[in-house]
């Protein structure tokens, strides 16, 4: 009878462990299983950054770089996907986040047969264009705003205002450059030199990315990369985009480039499933209470704490 007990327990345990494995391995197999869609739609809407998405109660504003990268990876690992259609409507974002997304797209372009097409919406400037430049083909509306190729660091000096309202700031720092970009004093020449070096380096990386993605010479690009913006028509003339049209024109181009016969089947790879959205809600700690949320430093305007941006 002892053996009976062991056998019954073993059978139930085995079945349960296998089911648990099916659940835990679900996301992996899901990403690898060939889906019915042949075009992966990835929306790049809003400011591109690497900020936390904030769980189920997040407002969802902006383009989270990690989510974009995950979507690109999922599309690449899906055997049915022949093309990625990026729908970009973004004024830019941080240099690192834009670069991370660009690199993932270039990896997909180089390591697979998947074609990448970018469709520009209202705005695809700076970081938005950084990402678009990784595409095999860029489609813009004639009046889309694009370009703004450059890097900017902005700081304010509010010391005279602080004096007027009688607020004094004391800083204790480990080194002379620790409070670089402090808004409570004038920027020192040494700091300016460091910041210029960072901007120049980041700018060069931006240019190199466009040169590699667009396969255009640096000499041709440099005059266009002084931070100016272009309409879609102007960008087409300057070879910054390949054709003019709307989203559906971009979809048609996608089908042609990826050799998709008939109507392309599009799946939004950035869209979370209902259960996927609920998953993190219970698997991670609950979000802070509204009062905490309002007072939380992390919810303040975000750009004051990002030193290097390639937007505006």
């Amino acid at each position: 009878m002892r053996l009976n007990r062991i056998l019954a327990l073993a059978l139930v345990t085995l079945c349960f462990i296998a089911a648990l494995g099916n659940w835990l391995g679900g996301s992996v197999s899901k990403s690898k299983s060939p889906g019915s869609a042949n075009v992966a739609l990835i929306n790049v809407y809003g400011v591109i950054s690497d900020e936390s998405s904030g769980g189920a109660f997040s407002s969802g504003d902006g383009a989270n770089a990690n989510k974009l990268i995950q979507s690109i990876k999922n599309a690449r690992e899906d055997e049915g996907i022949k093309a990625i259609l990026l729908r970009i409507n973004s004024p830019g974002g941080t240099a690192a986040a834009s670069q991370a997304v660009y690199e993932e797209l270039m990896r997909t372009r180089n390591d697979s047969d998947i074609k990448i097409i970018a469709s520009l919406g209202d705005v695809a400037a700076s970081g938005g264009y950084y990402i678009a430049s990784a595409a095999d083909h860029i489609v813009a509306n004639p009046s889309s705003i694009t370009g703004s190729i450059g890097v900017i660091v902005r700081t304010q000096n509010v010391s005279s205002l602080m004096d007027k309202i009688g607020v004094q700031t004391n800083t204790i720092q480990s080194g002379p450059l620790k409070d670089i970009l402090s808004p409570f004093r004038e920027t020192k020449p040494e700091e300016r030199k460091i910041l210029q070096g960072v901007v120049d380096e980041s700018y060069q990386q931006f240019l190199d990315a466009i040169v590699a993605g667009r396969e255009m010479s640096l000499d041709k690009l440099k005059p266009l990369a002084d931070g100016r913006i272009f309409t879609g028509t102007q960008a087409k003339e300057k070879n910054l985009v390949d054709s003019l049209g709307n989203y559906y024109d971009a979809l048609k181009t996608t089908a042609e480039l990826a050799n998709i016969s008939g109507e392309p089947s599009v799946r939004d790879f950035g869209k979370s499933s209902f259960f996927g959205d609920l998953g993190p809600f219970l698997s991670q700690s609950y979000p802070p209470l509204p009062t905490e949320w309002i007072s939380s430093e992390s919810q303040w305007p975000r750009w004051y704490k990002i030193p290097l941006t390639i937007m505006e």
């Binding site: 079945c15 089911a19 099916n22 679900g26 899901k30 499933s273 219970l282």
Partner: protein
């Protein structure tokens, strides 16, 4: 309880009257099916809980319907078991569905052996469920296995027809009125 579970799985059926075994098998089945479904949809822990609750409601409804239909058809064939015994027999007869966990896991192995094993276990689940249901029904209603099998088949057919009717009736009302 483990002895009773073993007897329910593999042996002759003196444990049919154990309602605790019925509840245990029901709980394990729901858990395994919910985990499988959550794995297929890539859901998180919330998904598992939602699937479990969803399957609990759906399972209860299905269990009652199938038991009632089986009991009714078995009675038509001269069955002598009680309604409670039919309920227990159906739940205990569904235990091979537990093997769907290993079957799905095996089919995900990236090899031909895995595919074969998955297919084989899937076949075991399908055939095993029909066999155990037939055996359970035959025992509680003291029916010959052929009559018990016919009861199971007729129940499945009537369930499918009821499901079809459930779809067609609203359509008929929608378009006809």
């Amino acid at each position: 309880m483990l002895d009773a579970l073993f007897t329910t799985f593999f042996g002759p059926q003196p444990s049919r009257s154990h309602s605790s075994i019925t509840v245990l098998i029901g709980f394990v089945l729901l858990s395994i099916l919910a985990l499988n479904a959550a794995g297929k949809t890539g859901a998180g822990i919330a998904g598992v809980i939602i699937f479990f609750l969803l399957f609990l409601v759906a399972g209860l409804l299905g269990w009652l319907w199938v038991s009632a239909a089986l009991h009714f058809i078995a009675q038509l064939f001269g069955g002598q078991g009680s309604a409670q015994a039919s309920l227990q027999a159906v739940m205990q007869g569904l235990w091979p569905l537990m093997i769907s966990g290993p079957a799905i896991a095996a089919s995900r192995w990236p090899s031909l052996l895995g595919q074969f094993l998955g297919l084989l276990l899937g076949f075991v689940v399908l055939i095993g469920t029909v066999i155990t249901l037939t055996r359970a029904l035959g025992q509680v209603h003291q029916l010959h296995w052929q009559k018990a099998l016919l009861s199971v088949v007729l129940t499945l057919v009537s369930s499918l027809l009821a499901w079809l009717g459930l779809i067609l009736w609203p359509l008929m009302v929608l378009f006809g009125l």
